[in-house]
């Protein structure tokens, strides 16, 4: 009777234990069957030979199934699916054994040709997780034999272990902080999107089976960037391995808080980008000098500025004829990107286009020298570089000479201040350049600008809306040479070959 009661106790506990065991077996087998992406397990493939059968015969199965015997066939091979590593797992665990039969190949053995569509691979789990674990617990010598067999395969060929993990963790690496390029990448990205001149595209690298070759993106014979306020031209013949040259016509000026045509000049000149490189050209890492040398002429655009419907500006400040020297330098000796702008020239006040005040005390304002120097800092919100920023911080200066035309001409310097400025640029580049904007604060005025691409035609024709705005002074009264209201310019910008 005593034994009977003990038996009842053992039975009850084993029944409870069995329920839980079955549940965990079920969950694991279900997961192995259904989770096609996240399983961090491996398949060790092998094709048994006759000599292997001694070790692989009579594998006991659970749930009343007959023991499994491995088959030797040209069309059948096996996968030992294993868990190689894991937390608190000391040694490799065999999860299940899969029979892989190429049924199509078997049925067309004597047919001389077959297509890949005919291939019919049938995978069957022949020894399940529960079977193997029961062997492990109850007949460890058989389990050890199988494990030794798998170990042997891996020792002979470590590559026989194929991962079944389908998520590509390398492609989904996330970073919490954005990045700032340590070479010219950010500078080139910015200039390609915004500059009116051409810049080298990234080199695309393609790998063949045995050697690596590099090719540059093909481009049109010539490139044009034009809007109502500027035009640039570059021909293939003007491109050199170390850089390129292009021509520019521009009606705008820096450092004076004015829009194109508002400063009543036109400038024509050349721009050159030169990469200081060693034996091989490397745009990403070579020190780049990107400069313009232009001749500036006075032009009476006063009437034009008032007549054009897409330009709202009141020209008051004359910029003199002379030269413009505008240069951007990439990072040298670890310094930031540096920009310099100098414009200077003739101090002629004899023929103003705009006079202010009554005839007996009419006056005009001239700026003969403009200077600007800044450092550029670039950063991207992510590795994809979809959202890009640039911040220019620097100092700027322009002089203003007042000429009074009454009983001769009297001139006096009325303004000559060195002031800080900051410009924040934003670029949105989902796949290619789509939208950009900037915000500049200088001399109490806000400059805003934006462009977005609205049309791209085959053959490399791109059209952008381009908008520029200069506010009236925010924290001070307008100077006499400044218009009281804001100035705006809306135009279409055309690009070809970029």
């Amino acid at each position: 009777m005593k034994r009977f009661c003990i038996l009842i106790l053992v039975y009850l506990s084993s029944s409870l234990f069995g329920q839980n065991l079955d549940n965990i077996y079920y969950k694991i087998e279900s997961k192995l069957k259904k989770d096609n992406t996240y399983l961090n397990i491996h398949a060790v493939n092998f094709k048994p030979e006759q000599k292997d059968l001694a070790a692989l015969s009579n594998i006991p199965l659970t749930d009343g199934k007959k023991p499994y015997n491995f088959k030797v066939s040209e069309f059948i091979d096996y996968n030992f699916v294993v868990l190689v590593e894991g937390v608190e797992i000391d040694s490799m665990i065999i999860l299940y054994i899969q029979e892989v039969e190429n049924k199509a190949a078997a049925s067309t053995e004597f047919i001389t040709s077959s297509t890949s569509e005919d291939n019919q691979i049938v995978e069957t789990m022949v020894v399940g997780f529960k079977d193997l674990q029961e062997i492990y617990f109850s007949e460890p010598e058989i389990y050890d034999r199988l494990l030794t067999f798998v170990d042997g395969i891996l020792k002979n060929d470590p590559q026989a272990k194929k991962p079944l993990l389908k998520i590509n963790v390398d492609e989904q690496i996330k970073k919490s902080k954005g990045i700032s390029g340590k070479n010219n990448q950010d500078f080139l990205n910015f200039q390609r999107a915004n500059s009116i001149h051409t810049y080298p595209r990234d080199q695309k690298t393609s790998t063949t089976s045995s050697r690596r070759r590099t090719q540059e993106t093909s481009s049109a014979d010539y490139k044009i960037d034009a809007s109502f306020s500027h035009a640039t031209f570059n021909h293939k013949a003007m491109a050199f391995p170390f850089g390129d040259i292009s021509a520019e016509l521009n009606f705008g000026n820096k450092a004076t808080n004015t829009l194109p045509f508002e400063s009543m000049t036109g400038a024509l000149g050349v721009r050159a980008r030169i990469g200081i490189s060693g034996k091989t050209v490397d745009h990403q890492n070579d020190f780049q000098i990107d400069g313009k040398l232009m001749g500036r002429m006075r032009l009476n655009t006063n009437g034009l500025a008032k007549a054009l419907p897409f330009l709202s500006a009141e020209p008051r400040l004359h910029l003199g004829s002379g030269f413009i020297f505008d240069i951007n330098l990439t990072r040298a000796f670890g310094l930031p990107f540096i920009n310099l702008y100098v414009a200077s020239g003739s101090k002629d006040v004899t023929n103003p286009y705009v006079k202010i005040g009554p005839a007996d005390s009419s006056r005009s304002f001239f700026s003969f020298t403009q200077l600007e120097s800044s450092m550029s800092f670039y950063w991207n919100t992510s590795e994809d570089m979809t959202i890009r920023f640039r911040l220019d911080l620097g100092i700027s200066k322009y002089d203003v000479v007042k000429a009074v035309y009454h009983k001769g001409t009297q001139t006096a310097m009325v303004y000559n201040q060195l002031l800080p400025f900051a410009t924040l640029y934003f670029n949105f580049v989902p796949n290619d350049e789509f939208f950009a904007a900037y915000f500049k604060l200088y001399d109490g005025k806000v400059n805003l600008g934006a462009w977005f691409k609205f049309l791209q035609l085959s053959g490399g024709h791109i059209f952008r809306f381009d908008f520029n705005y200069v506010s009236s002074p925010l924290f001070r009264q307008p100077h006499e040479w400044e218009s009281e209201g804001a100035a705006t310019l809306l135009q279409v910008r055309y690009r070809y070959g970029f």
Binding site: Q19, I28, K31, Y38, E88, I89, S176, F377, L391
Partner: protein
């Protein structure tokens, strides 16, 4: 007798087993189960490093919760310590469900949108760091799918029901040493170059600006002098806290900044009367004498006028007597990281002495130079001395960084100022800097006519650091 005893043992064991299910903590009931569960938990690609960043939410819709709970009951899938729960336990829980006191805690897998954690959670456990779950959690999306059925499981994934999202955003701020643009009208600093001379130190070269001086209680734009200069900061070993530098040396030139405000209570404007040089040396040199003093930061700074402006440069048109502050110096000892005030930051305290001179000049139209109205006053007599204490809390890292300091300063002339210096940054990128000082004993005859009874200066802050 023996039989009765055995029967009694049987009853005790079985009842204990049931009792144990209710009260004992979740411990594996058997090594085999434990081993199998270990295999089960190792099948998936382990993303434990991202557990706190995975999408996490709590279902709060009571009817939806009933629906889900019912599927668990129907499929007999509720387990506690791997054991099935009894109908009595379920009945007990039903009351909580009727009252809406049961929530469902969920977490999404990191690399896809499957549910990797599902647990019934009593409402009163939600605020606990390690909440006591009602049943064993489901940690396998495919098993959860089987229990709930594909349709309900997909609805849970869609998250189109009443829920509270509790996904953590990562705001940990790490200092970068590639460039550091810190735009603040009163104290901008642009670190644009850095180098390392051994494997862990860092030299940083910066351009800086400085408007006003808080320690002589002429903050921001109240001092009509803006300093531009360059500084070098040395880190003996690289730190994530930008304040942990070894020393910082700054040298700059001060220029007139113009009057950007109209005096409110001051009877006279303060003028800048010439270009000056500014220097500042900050460091913790005493740590080389006594290691425990590594948090004691010493600072010496000063500004000295080198020349006197031409009279025409003041822009005055009529004869004017005015005040000008030409020189100041300040020495301070600041003990940082005195103690930690929980999540609020580290407490720090500073004491210092600061002095500034004040001069009375007269502008007369037509004269090339201004005239000193107190020519016989010797240099020392022109100075006003302040002693001050500054206590505050500084927090770096995390979502919000701040420094909040209370300042109290007393001058030898009997008046003084007390005030608050605060700077709050969000993710160390955007923020605001506000300083407020109010005078006491300002009705004394010695209270300077050029001083305001209270000062407030402020600036937005934008910091880009990589």
């Amino acid at each position: 007798m023996k039989l009765k005893l055995l029967f009694l043992i049987f009853i005790l064991v079985t009842s204990f087993s049931v009792y144990a299910q209710e009260v004992e903590p979740a411990e594996p009931i058997d090594d085999v189960i434990k081993e199998l569960n270990n295999i089960y938990s190792n099948l998936e690609y382990n993303t434990i490093a991202f557990d706190d960043l995975k999408r996490k939410w709590i279902i709060t819709d009571p009817i939806f919760i009933r629906e889900i709970f019912n599927r668990f009951v129907v499929n007999n899938a509720l387990r506690r310590n791997y054991r099935k729960v009894t109908i009595e336990e379920i009945k007990q829980l039903a009351e909580d469900i009727y009252e809406g006191r049961l929530l469902i805690d969920l977490r999404q897998r990191y690399y896809d949108d499957e549910v990797e954690f599902f647990a019934f959670l009593p409402e009163n456990e939600i605020d606990k760091k390690e909440p006591k779950l009602l049943f064993d959690p489901i940690v396998d999306p495919y098993y959860l799918n089987e229990i709930l059925g594909n349709k309900l499981y997909e609805r849970i994934k869609e998250q189109t029901y009443a829920l509270n999202v509790l996904t953590k955003e990562d705001y940990d701020v790490k200092t970068g040493y590639f460039f550091d643009v810190n735009l603040n009208i009163m104290e901008p600093e642009i670190m644009f170059w850095s180098t390392t001379s051994n494997y862990r130190n860092k030299y940083l070269l910066s351009a800086f600006g400085k408007w006003g001086n808080d320690n002589i209680f002429v903050p921001g734009w109240n001092l009509p002098n803006y300093v531009f200069g360059f500084g070098i900061t040395y880190f003996q070993s690289l730190s994530n806290n930008p304040r942990n530098f070894t020393y910082k040396v700054r040298l700059g030139i001060g220029s007139p900044s113009g009057q950007v405000y109209k005096p409110v209570t001051a009877k006279q404007k303060l003028y800048n009367s010439g270009q000056n040089i500014y220097f500042s040396i900050t460091g913790d040199p005493l740590k080389y004498v006594w290691e425990e003093l590594e948090d004691l930061e010493l600072n010496l700074q000063g500004q000295f006028s080198m020349q006197e402006m031409d009279a025409s440069a003041y822009g005055l048109k009529v004869a004017t007597d005015f005040y000008t502050l030409r020189n100041y110096w300040n020495i301070e000892g600041r003990w940082r990281n005195l103690f930690n005030m929980f999540d609020f930051g580290n407490f720090e305290a500073a004491v210092g002495v600061a002095s500034h001179d004040i001069n009375r000049f007269r502008y007369t139209p037509g004269q090339k130079k201004t005239v000193d109205l107190d020519p016989k006053k010797d240099t020392f007599d022109r100075f006003t001395h302040f002693g001050y204490v500054d206590v505050g809390v500084v927090r770096t890292g995390g979502l919000i960084q701040h420094s909040i300091n209370f300042v109290f300063g007393h001058s030898v002339e009997g008046f003084g100022y007390y005030g608050l210096k605060t700077k709050v940054m969000l993710s160390d990128t955007f923020g605001f800097d506000v300083r407020f000082y109010s005078a006491y004993n300002s009705d004394l005859s010695k209270f300077p006519v050029w001083r305001e009874e209270s000062y407030i200066v402020f600036s937005p802050v934008l910091r880009i650091n990589y």
